[in-house]
């Protein structure tokens, strides 16, 4: 039973990871500082709900006002393109991203 459960969990974790890789690394390179972005979102939006909503909002309609990055950075590198993902997938990816990188779960 334990073996079965472990396998089951591993399967889903791997599924999550692979989905995230597939959907996110298309645009972001492997060396993208995901944890820095999460830190910036956390500093600005505080709660899980608000962070996820802000991320979704930005990826759906990117703008310099919505961005958590400094204006100079945007002026230099420009804004990201709109996410090609549908709403459902996008929300799922944000959930995986939050689960993986959120700061609150790292406090002990």
């Amino acid at each position: 039973m334990v073996r079965f459960l472990s396998f089951f969990l591993l399967f889903f974790i791997n599924t999550d990871a692979s989905e995230f890789d597939k959907n996110c690394f298309d645009c972001h390179s492997q060396d993208f500082k995901f944890h820095i972005i999460m830190n910036k979102y956390t500093l600005k939006y505080s709660s899980e709900k608000r962070i996820k909503e802000a991320m979704f909002d930005y990826l759906r309609e990117p703008s310099s006002e919505k961005s958590v990055l400094p204006l100079e950075y945007i002026q230099k590198f420009g804004l990201k393109d709109k996410s090609p993902l549908d709403d459902k997938t996008l929300r799922e990816m944000i959930d995986i991203y939050y689960k993986e990188y959120n700061l609150q779960s790292k406090i002990y």
């Binding site: 700061l103 609150q104 406090i107």
Partner: protein, 384 residues
């Protein structure tokens, strides 16, 4: 203790104590709030320092990029952080449970809490809660209550002492007045008795009409003095005269008393009528009953108009004396039993007659009913 002294003591004590207690309670309540304010102020200052310390640590921690973050812990206080939606992020003490995010400072179960907003949101923390053990304010209140009780007791003792001090001159004066009246009364006894006895022994047939009239006037005046004397003795002895209750024949007694007052009645051309068809007995002290009847008759005579009738009616369980005199107002009837109160200053007396009547009537459970109409007369009915 003199009559009315108890009342005065109660009034003075009541007034003094209530004003003092009001003052004490105002001082203590103000002091309590001052202490509470001071306490809260000090606690807040300390908690603010701790908040600042924790914020600094969180900021430093947030700057480091790490796989895991060790939340800052301190010996002096416990802390917790909440996100903007009031969800707990981390707490060093599971007991910290904030439900109301509007109160920035509060004390609960001998712990002080300070809730401070935080920006930027390090680790998502929008609120920092600091909890520290606080000095027990209840102990301070207990101490305050103890001091208040001691102060009240001291005030109470002081007030009793003060009342005694204030009343002392009054007591001395009353004592002096009492002893003066007692001495005077005592001195009056012998000459009055001598006058009355000698008048009785004068042979009226040997006097001419003019002398006889003069003699009658002397007799009436002596009787009046004698009445006043008897009333004063009754009052001065404070009703402590030895009581010897016997079966009294009221009709006989009334006849005697009416005869005694006949001279007075004649002087004002007043017709004193006794309507007592039967003998009725009443168990009472003879002297007291005599004082009761004498006072009622003397009052009736005093306030009756000239050439009128005073009707004394004795029936079973009731005696009424009705005059055709000045009468009294409703207010006067209401206050008639107040000692030393005289409505008509033109008439002699001390205003003690009805007070004596009431005192004796009360002793023998006799009900007094007074019906009076101004300029028509007064009817006093005793019933038992």
């Amino acid at each position: 203790m003199y009559r009315g002294e108890k009342k005065t003591i109660f009034y003075v004590l009541g007034l003094y104590l209530s004003s003092t207690l009001l003052l004490i309670s105002t001082i203590f309540v103000s002091y309590y709030y001052y202490e509470k304010d001071q306490f809260e102020h000090n606690e807040k200052d300390i908690l603010k320092k701790y908040t600042f310390l924790l914020t600094q640590q969180l900021s430093r921690l947030n700057e480091n990029s790490s796989e895991r973050y060790k939340y800052p812990r301190f010996d002096e206080f416990e802390s917790a952080i909440y996100d903007i939606d009031e969800n707990l992020i981390f707490s060093t003490n599971r007991d910290i449970n904030i439900t109301n995010f509007k109160d920035s400072f509060f004390i609960k179960e001998s712990n002080s809490y300070l809730l401070s907003p935080l920006t930027p949101y390090y680790f998502g923390a929008a609120y920092i809660v600091i909890e520290k053990k606080s000095k027990n304010l209840v102990k301070s209140i207990d101490k305050l209550i103890f001091i208040a009780i001691v102060t009240i007791i001291i005030t109470l003792v002081t007030s009793i002492f003060l009342v005694n001090l204030v009343l002392k001159p009054m007591r001395d004066n009353i004592k002096l007045l009492d002893s003066f009246i007692k001495d005077t009364t005592h001195e009056l006894n012998t000459p009055i008795t001598a006058i009355l006895t000698n008048i009785e022994t004068i042979d009226s047939s040997s006097c001419d009409e003019k002398a006889l009239r003069k003699l009658q006037r002397i007799k009436i005046a002596s009787q009046s003095i004698s009445n006043i004397y008897e009333d004063l003795v009754y009052i001065l002895l404070n009703h402590k005269t030895s009581t010897q209750n016997i079966e009294l024949n009221l009709r006989e007694m009334l006849e005697q008393r009416i005869e005694y007052f006949t001279n007075m009645a004649n002087a004002k051309n007043i017709n004193l009528i006794l309507d007592a068809k039967q003998d009725f007995s009443f168990n009472a002290d003879k002297k007291k009953m005599q004082r009761l009847i004498d006072n009622l008759l003397s009052n009736a005579l005093k306030y009756s108009y000239k050439a009128t009738t005073i009707k004394v009616v004795l029936i079973k369980n009731s005696l009424s004396i009705e005059d055709e005199g000045k009468g009294m107002s409703e207010k006067e009837v209401k206050n008639i039993f107040t000692r030393y109160l005289r409505f008509d200053k033109s008439q002699g007396g001390f205003g003690i007659g009805y007070s004596i009547v009431k005192s004796i009537a009360d002793e023998y459970h006799i009900n007094i009913d007074i019906v009076s109409k101004q300029n028509h007369g007064t009817k006093v009915t005793l019933s038992w």
